[in-house]
């Protein structure tokens, strides 16, 4: 039987090499595509017959839209509105990826459990936000690292702390999502393994597999919550970083 970490293995489906770089189409890329198609299906399907009074499907699409629009408006105000498509895409992408990863039996692959993927997203957000900060405020954006009202001798300590905390943002942002997904999926797999190994025991002992099975049911509910929550956390932190870049303090 495969170990609990086997679910995170990346398999090449179509090997590709461009200029010496390996850009093979893998199961990870496949599930990114599945995520994209799912979101497109969800949105096109929901908006195919737009009604003044929306049906269930259209209502769901509108709810996602308004949820992110409200979140972005609350955190960044009107200046952040032009970044809405990005935040909306980011939220929907992570949410759909996490939820697709929760589908049982199909050996679905959760690419948000890969630090390379989450760090690439977080680093992109970090770079984008930093560039927006410098474009909006010029070199005054460096004042972001100088806390207001602190005496000069404290600044010697505070400025490095501020810089380190700023630079650690992409790490905390990516590791939070990555660690949550890995932990949840590993736990599910471990307890799934318990069900199988207990169920393989002879006679009455096999009934013991009920316990880890019940735990998996509860854990699946929790993981669905985590899947939504982490997508939300990633999106709202991106909004907050964007707000820092737009308005500084």
């Amino acid at each position: 039987m495969a170990g609990p970490l086997a679910q995170f293995e990346v398999h090449t489906i179509v090997p590709l090499q461009v200029a010496g770089y390996d850009i093979s189409f893998t199961n990870s890329a496949l599930y990114m595509g599945v995520t994209l198609i799912t979101i497109m299906f969800f949105m096109i399907g929901g908006m195919r017959k737009v009604a003044l009074v929306p049906g269930r499907w259209q209502s769901s699409v509108e709810m996602c839209y308004e949820f992110i629009a409200k979140m972005l408006g609350d955190t960044t105000g009107s200046e952040g509105r032009k970044y809405f498509p990005f935040i909306f895409s980011l939220f929907m992408f992570i949410l759909a990826a996490n939820l697709i990863g929760m589908v049982p039996w199909l050996h679905t692959f959760t690419f948000t459990s890969h630090i390379a993927v989450t760090f690439a997203m977080a680093f992109f957000v970090f770079m984008g936000v930093t560039i927006i900060g410098f474009i909006t405020h010029g070199f005054k954006f460096l004042m972001f690292f100088v806390p207001h009202g602190a005496p000069w001798y404290l600044l010697i300590i505070l400025i490095p702390i501020e810089i380190i905390s700023y630079l650690s943002r992409p790490i905390s942002l990516s590791v939070r999502l990555f660690a949550n997904m890995v932990a949840g999926h590993t736990m599910l797999k471990v307890f799934g393994g318990f069900v199988v190994s207990l169920g393989a025991l002879a006679g009455v002992m096999a009934a013991g597999s009920i316990l880890p099975f019940a735990f998996i049911v509860a854990l699946t509910g929790l993981e669905l919550l985590v899947a939504c929550l982490q997508a939300y956390v990633f999106a709202i932190l991106t909004c907050l970083y964007l707000n820092d870049a737009l308005h500084m303090h």
Partner: protein, 167 residues
């Protein structure tokens, strides 16, 4: 952990970039504008409907005011009419009463006059009868041929004093 194998980094990041870019363009240029459009249309319809409702309500309020005003005007007019009619009738009754009472008092006066005349006439006749009777009695009793005129004078003086005492 398979995630920490550097061999899986580049292909995943490459496809992430490609697919996320596709998703971004789909959302930015197709899905989001469509949803925003629907939401805006709905908002417009709602605000239009609210504006219409407000206008109609104002009209209803206006109509109510007009109705109440006309109602109170009509009530006032009716009251005034009743009052003036009452005054008119009162005046008429008063006039009729005055006229009738004048007529009646005139009639009463005439009747009084007639009664007085009849009384005077009757008294005159009584005087004549009395003086005749007196003369006859005197003639019969005394056998004197008494002057008629003197007797009637005496009777007249006596009767008038009696009548005076009576009346």
């Amino acid at each position: 952990m398979p995630q920490l194998d550097p061999a899986v980094f580049i292909p995943q990041i490459f496809w992430l970039f490609v697919i996320f870019a596709a998703l971004y363009f789909f959302i930015a240029y197709s899905a989001a504008p469509k949803i925003a459009d629907v939401l805006k249309k709905r908002q417009n319809v709602i605000s239009d409907d609210l504006a219409i409702a407000e206008r109609v309500q104002a009209q209803a309020e206006q109509a109510r005011i007009v109705f109440e005003k006309s109602q109170s005007d009509a009530r006032d007019a009716a009251a005034a009419k009743v009052l003036s009619k009452r005054e008119e009738l009162k005046a008429q009754v008063e006039a009729d009463y005055q006229k009738l009472s004048a007529e009646l008092s005139a009639n009463a006066q005439n009747a009084q006059k007639e009664i007085d005349a009849a009384k005077d006439k009757a008294l005159g006749e009584v005087r004549d009868v009395a003086s005749d009777v007196c003369a006859q009695i005197i003639t019969k009793v005394s056998g004197l041929n008494i002057d008629q005129k003197q007797v009637s004078k005496m009777v007249a003086g006596k009767t008038s004093s009696i009548l005076k005492g009576n009346s």
